[in-house]
Amino acid sequence: MTASASTMQNAGPPAKLESEAPARSSRRGLDRKRLFLWSLPILFFIGAAIIGPYIFPYDSLIVRTGDRLEPPGAVLRDGSRAWLGTDKVGRDILAQILEGARISLIVGGATIVLAGSIGLTFGVIAGYRGGFLDSLLMRLADIQLAFPSILLAIMIAAVLGPSVTNVILTLSLTRWVIFARVSRAATLAAKEREYVLAARATGVPPPLMLIRHIIPATIPPLLVIATVEVGLVIIAEASLSFLGLGVPAGQPSWGQMVAIGRDNLNTAWWMATMPGAALSLVVLAIGLFGDQVRDELDPRARKR
């Protein structure tokens, strides 16, 4: 889909991570204060998504065709002010953006958890067991990567109908590969460590082995990937909605708002500009936070 924009932006980090081998988790403890500071913008958005709709309520069924296409700051007929303007049926853009924030955050969060779990499971199994199962899972991943995610989105929407859940499903199915690759690489490295080799020699059963030694080693690199991915997933959701393949009509999504606003660039620039700006800022905030997480978890990066 956004083949260029999203699928591949993640090509950078994994390549690098694999070459650097999983980060030995820093023994020095995290610099929590710094991380907290950098997470403030994200917390602001999460807060806005949760509380915002109570302050600026949005109801798709309340339309005011007399107040349509009013510019930002306009005073409407009922005396209220549309801070970010109104849309083609007179609904407040700000209220829609806040409602859309919920969708973005839900989809972003849920997809990371789902894709991360699938990826972790497959990656650890493939890495730990090796052999045929490993080849099979990795070939599956290759085919998946070569397969355009937009097609998957169309198929899922066509078969199951458009819904937020199905968007999460679609995005998870296109995203698990990256998590699988990273956790497989981390597993391979962990397997060779002395304490793991020792534990193996003493006959610790595989399930216990995985839970105690292997999975913990995969967590730091997965967290780094997750912070990168969550921004990409939010963009991917917006991109799907932009193409009309995302969340169902009636539920405002930033991508869909930009798509609708695009046809009105000549007459109502704010319709496409405002939701896109919100989207960019959120993703940027996540990216900045992600950089800090990486610095914390990757001692080599920290040195610099």
Binding site: S4, A5, V159, G231, L243, V258, T273, S280, G287, R304
Partner: protein, 306 residues
């Protein structure tokens, strides 16, 4: 080396077959009937049946699959149902358009990201370094569909400097190339910077510097080579993806590329066109990655492909 390439090609054929088979089944399972779509909502059931027969869609799926594999083996991809012409013609036209755009975007990204990344790496923690890292993050954070629309708003609508959509002249390429290049610039700048940092502080570079070699020479002789491997990998992956068509950018700028063709073909349930587009997209992705792997040997002779 030869054995390696042969094995990789065989593997590529396997992945191609896998992708094609999945697509073949998937596009037929999905609700929607190409014949009904062509005739529209006023057509009767008999009209639709007649057209289905005409298009060879009435056969059972296994039968169609066998026929399809036979045709592919003979490099015959059939006629598009929707355009009523050989799919290879449409696909090759669109590939040309996509390749032009991908090439321009990649060139732009390289020209900008290398100097930026190198400058940042040479002065770590400086104001310049920080500015570059924030800028590259912005490049990756702004969604391409919105960036494209904003570029249209400013440069086509307000300033009227550039055309907003279409593909008639070279000016039409400017805005979509920038849109496509932005995330690439973001990734490549970071990669160049961190790759260079890794090697700059390694012993042999320090030695080289201690020996009094000029910064420029050190960079050229030693540092670049080591930095290039991850950069080339990412360039390859990205190029593969760009050739797969940047659906969003092509949609925003009405660029007649392969990505939009695939999406249109899917919406029309144009089976042969979907299959041929996927085949091309997958093949180019795999082929470019193969080239990348082979290029490692030339970048760093210590690497042996096995």
């Amino acid at each position: 080396m030869t054995a390696y390439v042969v094995r990789r090609v065989l593997y590529a054929l396997f992945v191609l077959w896998g992708a094609l088979t999945i697509i073949f089944i998937a596009i037929r399972i999905v609700p929607g009937d190409p014949a009904a779509l062509m005739l529209g909502p006023t057509a009767t059931t008999e009209d639709v049946e007649k057209l289905r027969d005409n298009l060879g869609l009435s056969d059972s799926m296994p039968r169609q699959y066998v026929a399809f594999l036979g045709d592919v083996a003979r490099l015959d991809f059939g006629d598009s149902l929707w355009l009523n012409r050989p799919v290879t013609k449409s696909v090759s036209e669109r590939i040309t358009a996509t390749a032009k755009l991908a090439g321009a975007a990649m060139l732009l990204a390289l020209v900008i990201s290398f100097p930026l990344g190198i400058l940042a790496a040479l002065r770590p923690r400086s104001l310049l370094d920080r500015a570059v890292s924030v800028l590259s993050l912005i490049g990756q954070s702004v969604p391409s569909f919105w960036l494209g629309i904003m570029l249209i708003l400013v440069f086509a609508r307000q300033l009227r400097w550039l055309p907003s959509s279409g593909s008639a002249t070279w000016q039409h390429m400017i805005l979509p190339s920038i849109t496509l290049a932005m995330p690439l610039i973001g990734i490549l700048t970071r990669l160049v910077r961190s790759g260079l940092m890794d090697v700059l502080y390694e012993d042999y570079i320090r030695t080289a510097r201690a020996k009094g070699l000029a910064n420029r020479v050190v960079l050229q002789r030693h540092a670049t080579r080591n930095m290039l491997i991850p950069v080339v990998t990412v360039i390859g992956l990205q190029l593969g993806n760009l050739l797969g068509g940047a659906v969003i950018t092509e949609t925003v700028f009405a660029w007649p590329g392969i990505g939009r063709l695939l999406v249109d073909a899917i919406f029309q349930r144009d089976y042969p066109l979907v299959q041929a587009s996927i085949l091309f997209i997958t093949a180019s992705f795999i082929f470019i990655n193969l080239l990348v792997d082979i290029s490692y040997v030339y970048i760093d002779p210590r690497i042996k492909l096995k």
